[in-house]
């Protein structure tokens, strides 16, 4: 059953370039990028039990590094991408050391404070980041000489990267290390007694999540060819977290579905109303109060009920 669903979803991802218009192909690219981002946050929230409200830091910083290096310092895209991913991962390693001194709500507050500081920096250091105007006029890379300017070409690029990302993150959580991570989430003391190092396991996960957050950030800036401090804001972190929770944290595919829903909601809602933040807040209240387990677990429970299985 699971395999059929996976094949169906995988197959349907191959279809858009063949029949959909540019608008929908671009939308699909954005969904894939949001999905990578949500999946990387899910490593922390769902599998590590570490609820971070600062995940936009990695997306935003990676995007800013790449944008600055290519537009201002004349780096080519390959080198800029490498530096940006390494730099962002190093930052995640540093932030992890600070944030993992605490757990639970303390962890959440530290990640939020750190990301807010970065957001403030992006706004205030206007001679570097161009402040509220953002950085414009960016270009997309051309890996191996293939131009990514057309929506279809860019979609294939994003699809390849997100497939790799999905497989790598799935391997991460289904591996022996992933099992120890879930052990640390549920029973940190027993895991410590068994000789595992809970801190190190959490820290490695934190850094790994930062790495994929950085990849999502690179794709994000390639897609938009523009970067603004709002991509570092709490709203940006909260959108990803909402995707994770709405889709079902701690499931493999759920956050991708959740992220897609949040993005679609944002796109369609902003066509009719300007009040995206208010809608986001209301959806937060709704999901937490009505569907705390998320949409995908809720749906699969429904399916199991229809097939007459007792759960």
């Amino acid at each position: 059953m699971k395999w059929i669903a996976a094949v169906l979803i995988g197959g349907s991802l191959l279809l858009p370039p063949f029949f959909a218009g540019d608008f929908y192909i671009n939308l699909a690219s954005q969904i894939l990028i949001a999905a990578i981002f949500a999946l990387s946050l899910n490593l922390l929230v769902g599998f590590g039990g570490m609820t971070s409200l600062g995940h936009a830091s990695y997306l935003g910083v990676a995007a800013y590094i790449s944008a600055l290096l290519t537009s201002r310092y004349g780096f080519d895209h390959g080198a800029a991408a490498l530096i940006s991913i390494l730099g962002t991962t190093a930052m995640a390693a540093f932030f992890g050391v600070i944030a993992l001194r605490a757990s639970g709500l303390g962890f959440l507050m530290i990640t939020l404070a750190l990301s807010q500081v970065l957001w403030g920096l992006a706004y205030r250091m206007s001679n570097v980041t161009n402040g509220d105007n953002g950085i414009t006029g960016l270009t997309r890379p051309a890996p191996f000489g293939f131009s990514l300017e057309s929506p279809v070409a860019f979609y294939w690029f994003v699809l390849i990267v997100s497939t790799i990302a999905f497989l790598m993150m799935t391997t991460f959580v289904t591996s022996a290390f992933g099992s120890s991570l879930k052990g640390v989430r549920d029973q940190p003391r027993r895991m410590a007694a068994l000789g595992f190092n809970p801190w190190l396991i959490r820290w490695i996960t934190f850094v790994y999540a930062g790495l994929w957050g950085a990849v999502a950030g690179l794709l994000y800036v390639y897609y938009h060819k523009y970067i603004h401090p709002s991509s570092l804001s709490t709203t940006s972190s909260a959108e990803a977290l909402l995707g994770v929770i709405a889709g079902g944290s701690g499931t493999l595919g759920g956050p991708a579905v959740g992220a897609a829903l949040v993005l679609l909601l944002k796109n369609y809602a902003s066509a009719y109303i300007e009040r995206w933040n208010m809608l986001l807040g209301l959806v937060f209240l709704f999901i937490v109060l009505v569907m705390p387990a998320g949409i995908v677990p809720g749906f699969s429970r429904l399916m199991a009920g229809l097939r007459g299985e007792n759960r």
């Binding site: 609820t51 807010q116 209240l285």
Partner: protein
């Protein structure tokens, strides 16, 4: 010399404001184990209410406005606590998420009602003339603000340490189950403390108005400062909030004056140092 003294006073007044903001946050966290991310939005709501009230009604002064706005925000907070937060008692993560959602709703509502331009809040007329002290000129309003913050700190201290309500709050902080067992209405206590904390935040927003003025994003500017204060001082500790507020007030003010670009990075440093050596904060208790 003039520079240092004026900036010193600015630091004190920012510290006072931060204390008003973070004491409520800290109280709520200490009792309810709830990181109230709506706190910055409640502060901003107070500022906007002041901007409108002081312009529309001649008879109002800033003190009555602060008390009025405090009650309005406290009522809103109480409603939110009763209607939403009590439903999520067993779900601390869910509680944080709804406070975050609520902060988006409030800040967007403020943007909708008051628009995107910053609205100045007038300084009270009788405090506009600067005070001369030891040959230096001080903005009187800021001096009064510092005094007020100290007054609130002392009152809160007496409330917690010397009254029956305070004794019940302390009992609830120390051992919620046991407090319930001896007949303390912990659930009602939650509502009272939540109203108190958010009410102080709303009043602080009014008092901060003449210094900061009301603008969209004020909540996002103030919340991280409050978070850093309580992380530094120790979450749930009133003394920690007091010391942390003035430390951050000084660091932020002098940082902005001396190295405007790096003020945000300088803000990091005390937090990192404290977390590295005392993860529970300066005055926090282990396990709190």
């Amino acid at each position: 010399m003039q520079f240092w003294i004026i900036q010193g006073l600015n630091s004190l007044s920012l510290g006072g404001l931060l204390f008003l903001l973070s004491s409520g946050f800290s109280l709520i966290f200490g009792l309810m184990r709830l990181a109230n991310l709506t706190h910055g939005a409640f502060f901003m709501l107070g500022t906007y209410l002041a901007a409108t009230a002081l312009r529309s009604f001649d008879g109002l002064n800033i003190w009555t406005t602060a008390i009025g706005a405090g009650f309005v925000v406290a009522a809103l907070g109480g409603l939110f606590e009763r209607l939403v937060l009590t439903r999520l008692k067993a779900n601390p993560l869910g509680q944080v998420l709804v406070t975050l959602g609520m902060s988006f709703i409030i800040s967007d509502a403020c943007l909708m009602i008051w628009g995107g331009d910053s609205i100045p809040v007038p300084t009270p007329q009788n405090l506009q003339t600067p005070t001369r002290l030891f040959g230096f000129v001080f903005p009187t309003y800021r001096l009064v603000l510092v005094g007020l913050a100290v007054l609130v700190a002392v009152s809160l201290y007496f409330l917690i340490e010397c009254t029956r309500l305070g004794a019940m709050i302390r009992a609830g902080v120390d051992d919620r189950q046991m407090a319930r067992a001896v007949g303390i209405p912990v659930s009602r206590l939650f509502t009272i403390v939540f109203c108190l904390g958010t009410g102080i935040a709303g009043a602080a927003g009014v008092l901060g108005g003449p210094i900061l003025s009301a603008y969209p994003g004020l909540d996002a500017d103030m919340l991280p400062l409050a978070l850093i204060v309580v992380i530094l001082g120790g979450i749930g500790s009133l003394l920690g909030a007091f010391v942390g507020s003035f430390v951050i007030g000084f660091i932020y003010t002098f940082g902005t004056a001396l190295f405007p670009e790096l003020a945000y990075i300088i803000l990091f440093l005390p937090m990192i140092v404290v977390i590295a050596f005392r993860p529970q904060g300066l005055f926090g208790r282990v396990g709190a």
